[in-house]
Subunit: 254 residues, 2 copies
């Protein structure tokens, strides 16, 4: 039992309107049940999410936060525009985005962009994954899953890993229900976050910065699934999210 992770190389700099699926297919022969993992930066660029700070007038809340934390109010405005809650303001802005994902700066990206431009994340990464997946399936005639990924930090540890922010034709959580362990004892439900593990695996090839590998195919696993799937399934329900409750507790004290 094994799987391969294959970098899709020679993808050019992506711009607004580019046909990512066609570009991907020019650089790799996809096979049935491949999982195509695509960095959110190129998805966002192709979707025209590039913007300039000059075009983001800072509102009152952004100006207040900027005064407190000493960051550019226009950048903060961009983050606020994509956030439904600020959990931490400094030393980094940890937020829950409009789509329910918790990450730094709402995924607004200042790197890998021509000087003066920034990048919003895709507005609806599941919808992006579905659009890309359907086009890839059309072009190749293969059954394919797609994961749109970002890199995020994590609790308790330094460093970032690849994470899934949008999915198509793959369940983000694999549930081991009623399996027996090696001694025949029935286990409780175990939930394996396979979409995030795949995102991390792909990130080992994508790298950061000038890595230049925005797409990876993972081949040999059997996660293809025709059902509707949605990354929101992975977000912890608010009433069970003790870590968010803790961060709000800290905010009330400060």
């Amino acid at each position: 039992m094994k799987f391969e992770a294959i970098a899709v190389e020679n993808i050019p700099l992506i711009q607004d309107g580019d046909d990512l699926p066609s570009i991907i297919c020019e650089n790799i022969s996809l096979q049935d049940r491949d999982i195509v993992i695509i960095a959110s930066t190129v998805v966002a660029k192709a979707e025209g999410e590039t913007f300039r700070l000059e075009d983001v007038p800072a509102g009152e809340k952004a100006l207040e936060i900027a005064a407190r934390i000493g960051k550019d109010a226009r950048f903060i405005q961009a983050v606020l525009a994509r956030s439904r809650e600020i959990l931490v303001e400094r030393p980094f802005m940890l937020v829950t985005t409009l789509s329910g994902h918790t990450c730094v700066n709402a995924g607004v990206d200042e790197s890998n962009i021509e000087h003066g431009f920034l990048l919003y994340p895709p507005k609806d990464p599941d919808r992006s994954a579905a659009r890309l997946g359907k086009k890839l399936e059309e072009l190749t005639g293969k059954e394919l899953s797609v994961i749109v990924t970002d890199t995020n930090g994590r609790a308790f540890k330094i460093g970032q890993t690849g994470v899934a922010i949008g999915i198509y034709k793959i369940k983000p959580i694999k549930r081991w229900i009623g399996e027996k362990d090696l001694f025949g004892k029935v286990l409780e439900i175990t939930e394996e976050a396979v979409a995030d593990e795949l995102a991390g695996a792909a990130n080992l090839l994508m790298g950061e910065g000038a890595g230049g590998i925005p797409a990876v195919a993972i081949r040999g696993l059997d996660y293809y699934c025709e059902d509707d799937t949605c990354i929101k399934e992975t977000y912890r329900p608010e009433e069970q999210d003790f870590i968010k409750k803790g961060l709000r507790c800290l905010q009330r004290k400060s």
Copy 2:
């Protein structure tokens, strides 16, 4: 550019004193620069970390907590024995272990064990990884890295992923320092948590429950490193750990 993840199959049930490196080598031909990823459950079993609840007399603190949360006081005693701080008591005990890792139940495992027995995690997973790695290198004559892994939950999302808890001859964090992005702009330091991404990748083959694949070789990446390395490098310094501060804030209020 690509890598493979190869399951080491046919590993028998592991018991106290078993020679894991020899058993692994009987079932796979390792190559130079392979990263050998081994589940902490089999490492702990071979190290004799199996125990019975009857042999864990519950102390006062365990009895107090048991009264509050309705769990077996002897199980709680086992968790306390391996913990330096309890961050959350219910609905699950989230702790920081003696070795600095933050996880549920201090990694004490109730599954995959003959009825009535439980399993502590390895006392010092870095030392376990080094011992296993040196023996594997002796047996094969190859340059090898080792990662000892567990599965943990994470903040803000449901589900578990593979994580690194001990390492040998691999840096847990890959630092992209002073790399230029595609436009020649020098990036700040980016830290990619490659040991955890590798653990997650391996877990896609290891699975949970009756998966029965406790070791995986990852082949094709170039992370071999002769320097001393230590998983503690990945733990966020306490004064920067806002999430722990938040959880302590919640505890003071309850």
